[in-house]
């Protein structure tokens, strides 16, 4: 099994009702790469997946897999395999027949496909479950059956549509490692769709952040996290404290931004000029308590224990919400509701052009 490149060449997907799910997109996914598309629900990431797998034909542009144009090829003729969000295992077939379905469709004899299915099941450590029905398996086992079934057709590209979302946290963490190791073992190109940045971060070689039918940024996880390119990427990936304002002055790679909560200095990767509308983003873990830089006064509203760190929900004297992560080493307990000085280093903050932000929890709730 060897992975292949996947190229979206000016792909645009408009549905018959006129809704454009995916705007003109160019994307190159390398052979053998674990590539994630990260975005909120309804951003068009599943549509891209369906365009690659062949269930949706792009309105414009083309999809190339291993330099071969896939136009006009149905899902059964493409070198791809799809793992569905609900897995879509065949409930009436035993596990081995599920896995062997791809062989069956290719006309492999029964004896041979049973042997091949056993082989694949041993790859996902399920050899002893071959005769059971999917409903008799646990969530993680079903997951692995779905992977084995998809790998049976010897795909160059494996497409995964949020397959872990139904699992509980521990199992999800375990399956991440498992998926990663299967990908390494087989060398197949994985395209992984998720709205969970944790999944995208831990597994992916590269991530594409997507919003409203457009890919906002593509890059390795840590690059996106520390150098977001757009306001959406900065707000959707990880937590961020957000201050809207105007650029007051620029100096080399830095810019001074004038906000309602004070004037702050931050990196200026997009080369904003004086007078531009801008947003300042600073990660909660970059907030410091004893610093002279970018100072503000805030008081504590709530303290949420996350385990390894404490999430301090605070509000500045001017009314802006600020989140601060403190390592759970006892420091947080000392902080009282009384006003305290906060700040951050200019290097750990960034100003980006004004643009759409990811929905906050409250907005998400209202939308769903």
């Amino acid at each position: 099994m060897r992975g292949k490149d996947v190229v979206l060449d000016g792909v645009q997907i408009t549905y018959p009702n006129g809704f454009t799910a995916v705007h003109k997109t160019d994307l190159r996914i390398q052979a053998g790469e674990f590539f994630s598309i990260l975005g909120p629900s309804g951003c068009g990431k599943t549509t891209i997946l369906r365009a690659v797998s062949g269930f949706v034909e792009p309105s414009h542009g083309r999809v190339l897999i291993g330099d071969a144009d896939q136009r006009g090829l149905g899902p059964n003729a493409r070198p791809t395999a799809l793992i569905f969000q609900n897995l879509a295992l065949f409930p009436l077939m035993p596990v081995w027949q599920n896995v062997a379905f791809g062989f069956e469709a290719r006309g492999v004899s029964k004896r041979e496909r049973r042997a091949k299915a056993e082989e694949l099941l041993s790859l996902v450590a399920l050899s002893d479950q071959a005769g059971k029905k999917p409903s008799e398996l646990s969530g993680g086992q079903r997951q692995r059956v779905a992977i084995a079934r998809a790998l049976a057709v010897d795909p160059a590209v494996l497409l995964l549509d949020e397959p872990l979302s139904a699992l509980d946290l521990k199992l999800r963490q375990h399956m991440r490692a498992e998926l990663r190791s299967i990908q390494k073992k087989t060398g197949v190109t994985f395209i992984y769709i998720t709205h969970d940045q944790g999944e995208a971060f831990t597994m992916s070689d590269r991530i594409a952040v997507m919003n409203a039918g457009r890919i906002e940024q593509v890059g390795p996880a840590d690059h996106i996290y520390s150098n977001p390119h757009t306001a959406f990427a900065a707000s959707f990936v990880g937590e961020a404290n957000v201050f809207h304002g105007l650029i007051a002055q620029t100096q080399q790679d830095f810019a001074q931004i004038e906000t309602a909560h004070g004037a702050f200095l931050a990196r200026n990767p997009r080369n904003l000029s004086q007078g531009d509308d801008a947003i300042l983003f600073v990660r909660p873990e970059a907030m410091l308590m004893d610093t002279a830089e970018n100072k503000m006064v805030a008081h504590l509203e709530r303290r949420d224990l996350e385990g390894p760190f404490v999430n301090m929900v605070m509000r500045t004297e001017t009314g802006a919400p600020v989140t601060v992560y403190l390592p759970n080493t006892g420091v947080a307990a000392a902080i009282t509701e009384a006003g305290m000085h906060l700040g951050f280093r200019a290097e750990s903050a960034v100003v980006l052009p004004e643009g759409a932000l990811a929905r906050t929890g409250t907005e998400e709730m209202a939308a769903q």
Binding site: S53, G54, F55, G74, P75, N76, A77, T80, A81, L82, F84, Q85, N86, A88, L89, F90, L92, M93, F101, G102, E104, A105, R106, R149, A150, A152, V153
Partner: protein, 467 residues
Amino acid sequence: MNGLLRGYGRGLVSIFFGAVMLWAFLLIILPQFVMLERALTKPKRQLDSSIAAQLERDAANCVAILAQFQTPVDPEPENGGMAVPSASGMAVPSASSMAVPSVSGMAAPSATAQTRPYILQCDRSTTRKRMVRNEGIEEWLNDLHDLPLLAVSDDQPLEDQIATAEQIEEIAAALYQDLLILEANASQLGLGNFSALTQPILIPLSDTAKAEEAGKISNKLLGAAGLRYVENGEVYARIPMIILVRTLVFALLATALALVVCYPIAFKVALGTPPEKAVWLFLGLIIPYAIVELMRIYAWTSIIDNSGLINQALLWMGAITEPIQFKRSALTVFVVIVYTYVLFMVFPIFNVMSTLDRNQIEAARDLGASTWRLHWRVIIPHAKPGIAVGCIATFMLAAGAFSVPRIISRGLQAEWFSQTIYNKFFESENSNIGAAYSFAYTLVCFLMVGLFMWIMRTRLKDFARVQ
């Protein structure tokens, strides 16, 4: 059970169970038992006692009629010859249920007292009566009950005749009373009514017709199945059995055709169409269903009549010169049955199919399955309970169809078995045989449904998925 008690309380649950038991008893168990009892009981007129009773009646009538000839008859009837038949008709006061055809105008003109014309009742007044027994068994009343061999013969003097008839009447009356008591104490159950199902019936045919009929494939098939045979140059056919088999075969074919028609429709509506369009398809399925069954069937007559749509169109086009007799074709009944009951096939299949996760279809496609394999391996196994329910419902409705063959064929073609049963009950007044037929038919259909479920590997619990 505990769940029911918790949810509805003791009162409601007992009412519910009471209602269910009552229903099961009154509408399922009891009718079957009544049918079975009737089916196992000999028809009353075949009983020995009714032969004796008939003999008693005949003898009494014979006496009454012979008495007419004894009284001097006015040789010149006032009203002329016309009045006599009515007068003589009136003169039979014993007015048994049977008509007295022999005492017609013939009697009066032959005023000679000693010789008499043929009198049916007197002819039947003999102790040598054949009993109603199964085929091949010959038993006579006088042998069976040790009676003197008596008969009213017309060459004896009238007084002797009357005396003999009176003696016969007496013997028969006494025997009748004895037999009534005997029969009341003995079990009258037997399988005789069921054997009527396979009874061969002589088919009177001319020699040319015999030769012609013998060449027909259908008759050869019947012959191979043992349902038709030739004995001593005469053709016999086990007609009720032929009707039964024919009806079952047609019902099976109708079910198969309905399945073939409905599967793609159900698939299209349930899975192949976006929901907003499926509403229209669904409406198209519902509307014919909302019309009363009789109307639905009757509407066909405007199409298939001799002056109906098809014949008129064909005549107008010059394709035919004589109207095609659709009413006489079993195929027409078959088609209308499929049309009438097709919806009982569509809806169960549709219901189950619409519960199939569409992702499974996409998954199968993605794994390279052809359309055929997709249906065979994914959709049909999922829809199987619906297919089974639809097939069972359609089969039972087609097998029991009464209004369709009746309205469409108007008696112009062979009966369906449900018509045979109806006729046994309400036309020939032989409800014991009717009960035997209907019980046997229920049993056969039940076995066929069981066989079907076994072949389809459907278990009862699968039906829970059909809603």
